[in-house]
């Protein structure tokens, strides 16, 4: 069926299947071998189209290699491995299986050489990420999973319409840089941006991720948004609109994270914020900026997963997610605390952590393009990130007041996964050259110029000072932040109800008319669609006979007109 290199995603997909079929140690072996095999396969993919197949009369390219694709696929495989290590003793087997299939979708997207393959793997991701959300097990997780699924299927449909339009109108299914100039490309852009949690639908992310299980959220934090970032890099580099979309996401994430009380929701909002940085970089579109977006995605997956892991361990051990109920955990959970702090420093791009080397790349790209406004916005946002993720998260969870809880530290596998990622955060921060070798364009960039380091250190010192000065204001009580999803969950629901009422009135009117036509025969029309309603009810034979007559007359009349 496929000629050429085997898609690396198939290894992970096979792993997902085998996890369901095996038990005990064999399952553990599959769990560790599948991502390793995938990583190996990722590095076997040469540049250019490596496999072709025929589907629906189109030449499709399931495997196409390039530096940036391999970079994303590598980090996705590493993420699957570490996530598997983190979760394998605590998570249910179906959660692991779904998470691996989800990761397979992400790896598949990385190598998709054409829009159809991209879409196939895109939907694979949507389906299995929904399953991962459901594995949270609570009624809240179920409800969030449904909202998540609807959002992603809607995004999928929009993407499909766009892809189909491009395919019909240009005759090409290739993935190549586009600009949002017509209906088709707009639809593709919107479809991808929905997965990147762009406005106005950013809220799905903070709605769904915190509802999943402590292990599930680690997987969720990595794949969907970052594969959307890759798709944007491949399809819309240098699309100017993305700069503004990204800036909105950055500040949206900061503001909501500052208002939030739930530990994992803080982290979820900071995903939106961090993806915003990448989207801005893609919008800038220079070689340096694309390098920055790719490298930042790589570093971001590691430290964000690390943060979700430390939050996951806390929830696993205490069952509590609200910051106002947590605190003082550093006494008994030193490892989790240290790893959480390393993750927090990395996300705040502290010198000598991975975040510093990659995020400053984006700022420099903005500076070089003369985008002064963007540059200062990014600098301000860096301070904001430090405020919400860098200080707020570890402070409220691990220090603050003594909550009285004395949970045990992380189980060994969770600890090992955290240490591995914490090590990578520092390693990339100190010695970024291996990462530079992976990014798409050659790097001539000195991360630790003294002036820049000084500038950022000042930034953090002042925002840190601000945090502790404003601490009384930051103390979170039990609040609920109203997010944009309020618009679709409340306003739309209300207007939907209103519409139904209007329909019902209309239906009643129609019913009255129909009755006078049939001289009072038949019951009043009730609800329009239900089993007792006009359309759902079993019609009388007479009604249908009437329809037959109407249709026949209509048909013949049409011809005489």
């Amino acid at each position: 069926m496929i000629d050429g290199t085997m898609p690396p995603a198939l290894f992970l997909l096979a792993g997902a299947l085998l996890i369901g079929l095996t038990r005990g140690h064999v399952r553990t072996a599959v769990l560790f071998l599948a991502p390793v095999a995938t990583l190996w396969a990722v590095w076997q993919v040469p540049d250019g189209v490596a496999a072709t197949a025929q589907f629906l009369g189109y030449q499709i390219e399931p495997v196409e290699g390039s530096a940036v694709r391999r970079l994303f696929a590598s980090i996705f495989s590493i993420m699957a491995f570490t996530g598997g290590l983190f979760a394998f003793r605590q998570a249910r087997w179906y959660e692991l299986s779904a998470a691996y299939a989800y990761a397979a979708g992400a790896v598949g997207v990385c190598f998709a050489g054409d829009l159809i393959t991209l879409f196939l793997f895109w939907e694979l991701m949507a389906i299995f990420s929904t399953v991962v959300v459901w594995c949270g097990g609570s009624p809240a997780a179920r409800a969030a999973g449904i909202r998540y699924a609807i959002m992603h299927l809607l995004g999928g449909v929009i993407l499909k319409v766009g892809i189909e339009g491009v395919v019909v109108h240009t005759g090409s299914t290739d993935i190549q840089p586009l600009l949002a100039t017509n209906f088709d490309t707009w639809m593709i852009l919107i479809g991808i941006l929905i997965n990147a949690a762009a406005p106005p639908v950013s809220a799905w992310l903070a709605d769904a991720y915190p509802a999943s299980s402590p292990t599930g959220s680690v997987f969720l934090s990595a794949f969907t948004t970052k594969s959307a970032v890759l798709a944007l890099i491949l399809l819309f580099p240098g699309e100017p609109m993305l700069i503004w979309v990204g800036l909105y996401m950055i500040f949206y994430g900061i503001i909501y994270a500052l208002l939030e009380n739930d530990a994992r929701r803080i982290l979820a909002y900071s995903i939106v914020n961090q993806v915003g940085f990448m989207v801005v970089a893609i919008g800038i579109g220079t070689e340096l900026a694309i390098n920055g977006a790719a490298a930042h995605a790589f570093a971001h997956i590691i430290y964000k997963a690390l943060l979700f892991m430390s939050a996951g361990v806390v929830i696993y051990r205490t069952g509590v997610t609200r910051c106002s109920d947590l605190g003082g955990l550093f006494r008994t959970m030193p490892l989790t605390t240290i790893c959480g702090i390393i993750g927090a420093l990395a996300i705040s791009s502290f010198p000598l952590t991975s975040g510093f080397t990659t995020k400053t790349l984006i700022s420099v790209a903005a500076e070089q393009q003369g985008l002064v406004l963007v540059y200062f916005a990014l600098a301000a946002a860096s301070a904001g990130v430090f405020l919400h993720a860098g200080i707020k998260f570890p402070w409220f969870v691990f220090f603050q007041k003594d909550s009285g809880m004395r949970p045990k530290d992380a189980p060994w596998n969770m600890g090992a996964a955290m240490v591995f990622f914490a090590f990578l955060c520092i390693f990339i921060g100190v010695y970024p050259e291996p990462l530079w070798a992976l990014v798409p364009y050659p790097v001539e960039y000195e991360a630790y110029a003294p002036g820049k380091v000084l500038f950022y250190v000042q930034l953090w010192l002042f925002s840190g000072l601000a945090f502790f000065l404003l601490l009384p204001l930051m103390k979170r009580t039990l609040t609920i932040s109203l997010d944009t999803d309020w618009i679709w969950r409340v306003v739309l629901a209300r207007s939907g109800l209103w519409l139904l009422q209007v329909l019902q009135v209309l239906g009643d009117q129609l019913g009255a008319v129909g009755e006078s036509v049939r001289q009072g025969g038949g019951a009043r029309l009730g609800r329009l669609l239900g089993s007792a309603g006009a359309l759902g009810r079993t019609w009388q034979i007479g009604t249908t006979a009437l329809w037959i007559a109407i249709l026949l007359t209509g048909y013949v009349l049409l011809y005489y007109l």
């Binding site: 069926m1 589907f55 629906l56 009369g57 879409f119 196939l120 895109w122 939907e123 694979l124 389906i127 459901w134 179920r142 449904i146 699924a149 609807i150 299927l153 809607l154 449909v157 499909k160 319409v161 189909e164 339009g165 395919v167 019909v168 109108h169 669609l529 239900g530 089993s531 309603g533 359309l535 759902g536 079993t538 019609w539 034979i541 009604t543 249908t544 006979a545 329809w547 037959i548 249709l551 026949l552 209509g554 048909y555 013949v556 049409l558 011809y559 005489y560």
Partner: protein
Amino acid sequence: MSLVQQLPALQVAVPLLTAPLVILLRGPALAWAAASAASAMAFAIAIALTATVLSQGAISYDMGGWPAPYGITLNIDALSALVLLLVTGASAVTLLCGRASLGQAMDPGRQHLFFAAWLIVLAGLSGIAITGDAFNVFVFMEISSLATYVLIAAGSDRRALTATFKYLIMGTIGATFYLIGVGLVYMMTGTLNFADMEVRIADVTDHRPILVAAGFITVGLALKAAVFPLHIWLPGAYTYAPHMVTAFLAACSTKVAIYILLRFDFLVFQGNFDVHAVRFVTFLAPLALLGILVGSAVAMVQGHLKRLLAFSSVAQVGYILLGASFASAAGLTASIAHMFNHALAKGALFLAVAAIATRVAGLRLDDIAGIARRMPFTAAAMALAGASLVGIPGTAGFVSKWLLLQAAFEQGAFGIMSAVVVVASSLAAVYYVWRIVEAMYFGTPASGETATADSAVAEAPWPLLAGLWLVALSNIYFGLVPSLPITLSETAAIELLRNMP
């Protein structure tokens, strides 16, 4: 003459002649075995015929050696081959794997009659698909319809009788309308042979009777095909029929009516009247769009599993018609491919329903709550088939919806409107399939049936499960390797459009 050359005749003769034999056999096990064997053989013949059509093109066979237009010819082209595959395949799978479900639905003393009626339905539906004679179509239609009424009413559910009565009235009106139409065409052309009609109708100068004939035939067949708003017989008939009968009929019976509609309309009427294509579109497209919207919307609120799926079928008939009403090669390809793919998806769904019904008393969504824990394989297959119905990539449903959207995009403003409707209805499908999945996986059984009832419910009988998974996996197979249905539909579309300007 070798036996191979007689295959077209055998396609109808095997089930038709086995039917009386089944009555003579009496014993339920023997009757079932004979019916299944005949059905499997019919399926094998259909596969052989399809292979011949694919390699050598259309087959023409003169019944009894009488050449057309005097005798009856059997014509098998790509379109009839595809419909034949559906009819015989659905019959073979449901019969072979459905013994447990059927045994539950009726007492053993009447089963031989039931199987005989089943074979007659099979013979009738295959007959419609291969005959080249318009009156012969009517005969086969009546044969299959009468036997279908028996099948639907065969279960123990008394509500099936009302449903059957309704179907009987509707079906008879439909067949009569068709006959009136054929009569008018015969009056004007003097022939009943499709191929002959196609040629001679061009010479007819007075178009008025032909137009009326077209009206009668279209409306009559639309009744049989359950086109909105003539679909009312369908939900009742599907809901109260024995589950295996639903699976069989849902997979193929409406498609056979659409097959004749396409054949008549495109080959006989289109191309002979310069404005027919426009009329066809203006008449059928609104019905198709309304059917899609209403069927999906009603399915969203149904509480009974079979009724929900039945209304979804009304919407799917809308998709098939919508493709045809584009009157383009791409549209027809999508339409015909969707016949095939929808049969796979709906067939699998109704098989899963039958599997559940072997273990659970009711089929309301509340009754199947939490069933996935006790019947994991059935539930998984159902979810898979549901994904195909929605059109998730990697399943058969995705392929035909993709083709349909592609055809829509070629149509300009009307196409965009259709695309919007298709997309909206896909989202509705997500919703109603989701309700099923939610009930199966996340529902909690009502408090009345506690642990004792739970332990009684186990996985469905293995033959049923095997059949279900065969169909469910073919949804995946034809989603990834869709060359067979696509080749057949493309060839069929080109054949249907040969008279179009």
